[in-house]
């Protein structure tokens, strides 16, 4: 093994071994995965039509990926029509630069949760450029305070039990918290963030789905924070991977329902459909905007097209990021997102890591997969993750 590869393997082994022995890490992970399995079991009984809808969404995603170039163009045109500035970033660096230029320095930025923004290390980049950046999703806020990284795409701080949240909040807010009083913890975070929303110059959000025809971003959230991020600051930046695009709004809504169902919600707290900035024009032609005054859409490739054009790995680009496979993964139940790459977790994350970060970073995760297929059984789109892990193992073996 190359010394470079050895370093990556060693770091990976050390990190997950530490997590494996960390009682608090296990407590959080077990609570989250068990609660997911129970909720999901009940939910599929209550909504037995969900798997049928998921089958339809699989077809929608297949269609979207098949026509991705056309849909990217359509999305950009539609958003432009609404007055948005649109950008296409080929890689992480380009995306950071685009957003960096829009924001500049010395600004206050509030963010909705976006794993795509984690992928390009956006928060760190903007802070380095001299901005004040706050995550407003409670889980991401905890991750930010801990200088940690998300361990799950939907519940990024699932490995942090409330006891540890109370601890970090005590340090941050300099007062006592009772770990059992979860509402008090939530209140403390939202009070702190409220002030940030009203002073922020920019909001940054991701998107769960994008409708190309109408030019709309759909976001699913439970905390209401996205509404503040999207509506209070003057300008809004939407960062979305191109795999989020589907042909039209109806298909986008179906996709959003399936995402939230498999994230274990009968109905999520909020579903936002963001079209574009709206304004009222007076007789002199002057425009009065409601907020946000300006929307910027940044579409990110960063390996996604390569994945879509690879017949053996294309299926991975259908991933809805509902997180179902992660909660259901047997390895994940022990080491959570330590099974994965720098951003993406578990089996599907190992595949994404291989495409986005390359063989070196992906190798340990690729060999951590059990190939048992429990993820595929749970995946709403029946994405055959073990098959693709085998494909990548084969490629790694051949590259010797």
């Amino acid at each position: 093994m190359l010394s470079e590869a050895k370093k990556v393997w060693k770091k990976y082994y050390d990190e997950f071994s530490k997590a494996m022995r960390d009682k608090s890490f296990r407590t959080g992970t077990t609570r989250a995965t068990e609660s997911y399995e129970h909720k999901m079991k009940k939910l599929l009984v209550e909504y037995p039509e969900t798997p049928e809808l998921a089958k339809e969404v699989r077809k929608i995603k297949e269609e979207a990926v098949e026509n991705i170039d056309e849909l990217i163009n359509k999305t950009m045109e539609s958003f432009k029509r609404h007055g948005a500035d649109v950008y296409y970033a080929k890689n992480a660096e380009e995306a950071r630069e685009i957003i960096g230029k829009i924001i500049g320095t010395g600004k206050i930025v509030v963010k909705g949760k976006s794993i795509t923004s984690e992928e390009i290390r956006l928060r760190e980049y903007l802070i380095e450029k001299g901005n004040e950046v706050w995550e407003t999703d409670l889980g991401e806020f905890i991750i930010q305070l801990l200088h940690d990284r998300p361990m799950h795409v939907v519940t990024p701080s699932l490995h942090v039990p409330r006891e540890k949240v109370a601890e970090i909040f005590e340090k941050t807010f300099k007062r006592k918290f009772d770990p059992q009083d979860v509402p008090a913890l939530v209140r403390a975070a939202s009070e702190f963030l409220r002030d940030k929303y009203y002073n922020a110059h920019f909001g940054i959000i991701g998107a769960n789905v994008i409708a190309a025809e109408e030019g709309a971003a759909i976001l699913i959230h439970n905390e209401g924070n996205i509404r503040f991020v999207a509506n209070i600051p003057d300008e809004l930046i939407i960062l979305a991977g191109i795999e989020k695009i589907v042909p039209d709004l109806e298909k986008a809504i179906k996709t959003a329902i399936v995402i939230s169902r498999y994230a274990s919600y009968k109905l999520a707290g909020y579903y936002e459909i963001i079209g574009g900035a709206r304004y009222i024009q007076d007789n002199n032609g002057e425009k009065a905007y409601s907020k946000p005054r300006k929307i910027h859409l940044v579409l990110l490739d960063n390996g996604r097209k390569k994945m879509m054009n690879d017949p053996e790995l294309r299926e991975a680009s259908y991933c809805l990021r509902c997180g179902a496979c992660m909660y259901s993964c047997t390895v994940f139940k022990i080491i959570a997102g330590k099974f994965g790459g720098p951003t993406y977790m578990s089996g599907i994350g190992a595949i994404w890591t291989y495409v986005i970060n390359g063989s070196l970073q992906a190798a340990p995760a690729i060999y951590t997969c059990l190939l048992d297929g429990r993820c595929r059984e749970r995946c709403p789109l029946n994405i055959d993750i073990p098959r693709m892990i085998r494909v990548i193992r084969k490629r790694l073996a051949e590259s010797q």
Binding site: A5, F16, K394, A397, E398
Partner: protein, 323 residues
Amino acid sequence: MSDYIPEILRVIRDQIMKYKNPLAIKMSSCTDTCSGDICRENCETIMYTGCLYTTMGIVEKIGFMLSKVTKNPASDLSIKLFKKFMGPGGKLAAKFRNKEFDIIPRKAMEILKRIGVNAVCLDEEPYNGALLYDLGFHEELIKYGEYLRDFFKSKGVKKIILIDPHSYDVFMNFYKKEIKDFDFEILNIIDLINKAIDEGKIKLKSDELKTVTYHDPCNYSKSTERRIIEEPRRIIRSIEGLDLREPEYTKNFSECCGGPLEFIFHELSSEIAEMRVNELLATGAEKIITACPICSINFRRVLKKEKNKVMDIIDLVYESMER
């Protein structure tokens, strides 16, 4: 060209290619405890163990060494130790034969006799090649499949009865599809027992054992091809006086035993086994029935003194046959 794979995996690959066994033990050790006729040529119908029971039996016995060698794939020491102990000739490994596992193929053969299936064991068995398949050594797997084909043909084999899920997986889902002229008829002992039960050729009764739970092997329960989920349950339910209890996560949602990580992240593998054992024991059943020797050794390892709570389905059927 770069190289991203830990050396331990390449050593295992090389041993399989060279010695036809991951532990480099002699091919004759795989069937030397089989009862009945040992066949050298013109062996039309064979029972093939994939050498899995013998090999995993040894893996269990040498676990105390293996656990140190296979926990950290980035460690150089690991690979030196592995080569030294598991190395050429498998002389050391061969000293750790495990009677509790060696007896299973023998019992399988007794069951076949009882249900009127005429089969023999070969005088020697190459390993089934499943690790090459699972670890992605595709080029070698093709060569190995061709070797197996030629080996079976040289022995005059027409029908192969398999008794473990890993052999079944790699035979049905790879060799039969990818290897030219791999035209043997493949049978599974689980199906043969079921058929015998339906035809009234075998009656099963449990005297002392009252409650069991069944652990689905992943290759049977979550396969994208044929799934073997109800068949083992039918066998267990047909045993008079025995109650089958389902764990919380079962059938196509059953959890893995952790076995696939044994040679690379040994501790993680054990943590997974422990989690699954706890789920299975939560049923209150006296015994955990497995259909795969890899699951067996993983569960037995974490159960330590209570390792006898794990029982192979072949063992269960054998012990439930009328004497």
